[in-house]
């Protein structure tokens, strides 16, 4: 049975939302209040001058957005929203949506392997039965340097694309609502956890339809940035030595430099310098082993970033 579409004025939605939030807080007071106070204390710390770090009793900005179900949420660290590549609702053709983070200066979120600290955004999706959603895709990350630590993540604007289509030959249906219960950690000198329930609904609102062209460009760019498997001809392999893995590949065309981003934690030391040697098409990277490495891996999986071409994903068997 189709979900009836209510046309509710914005202020009424706010009041209803606040009322629901109030009820929810009363019922779940100990846990939520604790989390809210914790998040609030951290958010309050962030709000203070960078040179002073005190704690505060004030509830911060992270929790109030949690109850609102809306396409976009603004936090002090940036805007998090759901965008769509198409004005049409999901059909049996594959289409794409994206979870977009537009972060303020100095803030970063994390890749699926965050590196030395932090953690990646996670989403618990709620979709109609007739819609099938793919996995969150991860554009190639950057190395984010802290003193003595290295994280893998994103700054500025990043879109995590997700594919969708309808099952069993269902035709496009309206209304269709996709809900993302998103949680993330955004850090600068301090870390602020965030959570929001974001909703994308077809038919899109008028102002949303006007944005789709721009959103499609951003989503397509994000899809293009997701590393694809390296050609088999590159013959990646890793040699395990006492303190390091030696990653070897044969690149065609040759590359003058490379950076390896491990997919799995506790294999390599994320902060260690990666010594790269290139001889013609042969690339050799020395990856120091992680202090937390206990069991030798059988494969070194990860992303190889190269100059002048898209990053690729590799899975190098370890000998």
């Amino acid at each position: 049975m189709p979900i009836p579409r209510l046309r509710v004025p914005r202020t009424t939605r706010w009041l209803v939302g606040l009322g629901v939030l109030g009820c929810a807080l009363c019922c779940a007071l100990p846990g939520l209040a604790t989390l809210g106070l914790g998040a609030g204390a951290v958010a309050a710390v962030w709000s203070a001058m960078p040179s002073t770090r005190g704690t505060s009793d004030a509830h911060g900005a992270a929790e109030p957005q949690a109850a609102r179900s809306t396409r976009s949420v603004a936090t002090p660290q940036g805007i998090v929203d759901l965008i769509a590549a198409s004005v049409d609702p999901p059909s049996n053709e594959i289409s794409w949506i994206g979870l977009r983070f537009r972060l303020g200066d100095g803030w970063h979120i994390y890749w699926r392997n965050p590196g030395d600290s932090g953690g990646p955004p996670t989403v618990a999706w709620d979709v109609p039965k007739h819609v099938a959603l793919g996995e969150l895709q991860w554009p190639a990350p950057r190395r984010i340097l802290l003193s003595r630590l290295v994280n893998y993540g994103y700054t500025g604007t990043v879109v995590l694309p997700v594919s969708l289509h309808t099952r069993d030959g269902h035709a496009s249906r309206e209304p269709t609502v996709i809900t993302a219960n998103a949680r993330w950690l955004v850090c600068r000198d301090v870390c602020v956890p965030g959570r929001a329930t974001l909703r994308l609904q077809w038919p899109l609102a008028t102002e949303e339809r006007a944005s789709v062209t721009e959103w499609r460009t951003e989503i397509e760019s994000a899809i293009a940035s997701v590393p694809q498997p390296a050609p088999a001809a590159w013959q990646s392999e890793a040699e395990s030595q006492s303190r390091s893995f030696i990653l070897r590949l044969h690149l065609d065309p040759p590359a003058g430099a490379a950076t390896f981003f491990p997919l799995d934690p506790s294999q390599i030391d994320d902060a260690a310098l990666q010594q790269v040697q290139t001889t013609g098409g042969d690339l050799r990277i020395v990856l120091r082993k992680s202090p937390q490495l206990v069991q030798e891996p059988v494969v070194l999986r990860g992303v190889l970033a190269l100059p002048d071409r898209p990053a690729v994903s590799i899975a190098a068997p370890v000998r």
């Binding site: 953690g119 301090v190 303190r243 937390q292």
Partner: protein, 205 residues
Amino acid sequence: MKNMGLILAGCGCAAAVCCAPASSAAMSTAQLGRPAPAFEAPDLRGATHRLSDYAGRWVVLEWYDPECPYTRKHYDSGNLPRLEQKWTGRGVVWLTIYTADAPTGQQRDIAGRENHDASAVLLDRQGSVARAYEAKTALHMFVIDPHGTLVYNGAIDDRSTTDVADIARAHNYVDAALTEGMAGRAISVPASRPYGCAVRYPSVP
């Protein structure tokens, strides 16, 4: 975007060389199965503590940052205070290490108050203890046996989130390591990826 990534990677390599020479010099001093690195640091009252002071006892090192949401998860829930009380009650030396170059009076007060059941809160102002152990995050945990051997290096538990609800569902690696170690059994999980906010290493002058 790809070029930016490479530039950042290049800067990263350069920075790793320029800004962290000690990390290549002190390669893996905190190695499982080897003597835990020596350290010396003052507690909140100014008394000096050395690892050697505790020879013959089980020692836990817990990296701490009162403002990190992962730390808050374990303190606001009472999880870490309970662990500190449980294990110090069994004769374990629990040292909470606060690496920060200039903690305020208020931060020191909080550290002391919420680590009331720890053996001591040590102030690591120069980051020398953190460097010796290659501590990555607040909540990076180390367990040292009575022979001074490092037997656990990693996370507090297996749920690397900021969500208090995950504590009940989590397997606590430190609790398990102490239980197994003190019963004379092999430690089933001697290492894991430490989680938390980055340790605030003071800038190298």
